[in-house]
Amino acid sequence: MNAMNEHDEIQRLLSLAAADALDSREDQRVAAHVRSCSACAEELRQWQEMGAALRRLPTPQAAPSLVTRTIAMAQTAFTEECERRFERKLLALGVVFSWVLVALSWPLAQLFASGWMSLLGVGFAQKWENFAAFTALCWLAGSAAAIFLSRYRQRERRLA
């Protein structure tokens, strides 16, 4: 590479050098070149001054009323987001609980009604109407509880 090509290439890097945006190899190349090239050294200095001037530009200030308003709005939004997440978790927990209840309660009812041996009997499968009715009852009770809980939370939120 001849000296002229090197000079042209370094010139393209000078603005980035002033912005501290070169990798270490490019940085070393620029540093080595400007030691022996006064034109590039001068241009680099000027780019650096432009960078310094950009850093010194006055910062527009956000109005205190805007900041206060924003904090209030963001806090409300954050509280609502937390409540939404809590309710989603509660709903998931409720669904799991309902299924566990359905799965466990019918055999337990059988156990209490007819003793241990009934659990081994094939008659359990023949009583599917009872099982379906019991399942529906569980889901209805769960839905009623969910509606009650949701209204309770809505009222709480209104009062808050």
Partner: protein, 202 residues
Amino acid sequence: MIGEAAISLEVPLGLEAEVARLRRGDLDALAELVARYQHRLYRYLLRMVHQPAEAEDLFQQTWLRVAGQILRYDPRRNFDAWLFTLARNLAIDHLRRLRPESLDAHEAGEYEKTPAALRDGAPPAIDALIARERTYLLAAALDDLSVLYREVLSLRFEEEMKLKEIAQVLDAPLSTIKSRLRRGLENLRQSLEARDPGGPWQ
């Protein structure tokens, strides 16, 4: 000791703690974060959209988005970059809706417009510009740049972000960021010369 100093420069004191407190549901931490970033974020949005009323609206929307997404935020990510990404996405959507022409970069074209004096490497006397405190001129020239260059210059010089952080905010490769930075600076110098043809940097 050196390591500690480096860490304290990387993460502003208390920022991580504020983010962690907010993620645990502490509303005061949200107020502290808004206060911490109030001027920086507002300045960035103002640089993007120019109009104070629009910047204020975007400022509020950004923090509403923070409130909605902070629980999904990965604390290993850089918070600055995450926050400015949210702000940038809102600003770009806003510009796309209201002033789509402002997003036309014509990157290659703008570089071609670089005056011969710059391409030939003739050094304009920027020191004279600085000496005469042409701050207003510089701010006006910055505002006149395409939004793609304006935001890179603002993030690098005003927000003091590293190139990697800027790449995260813009969701662009490092090479693109460097290219925009260089072209932005060259266009800025060109604009300064055009604003004051008889100026000392000719």
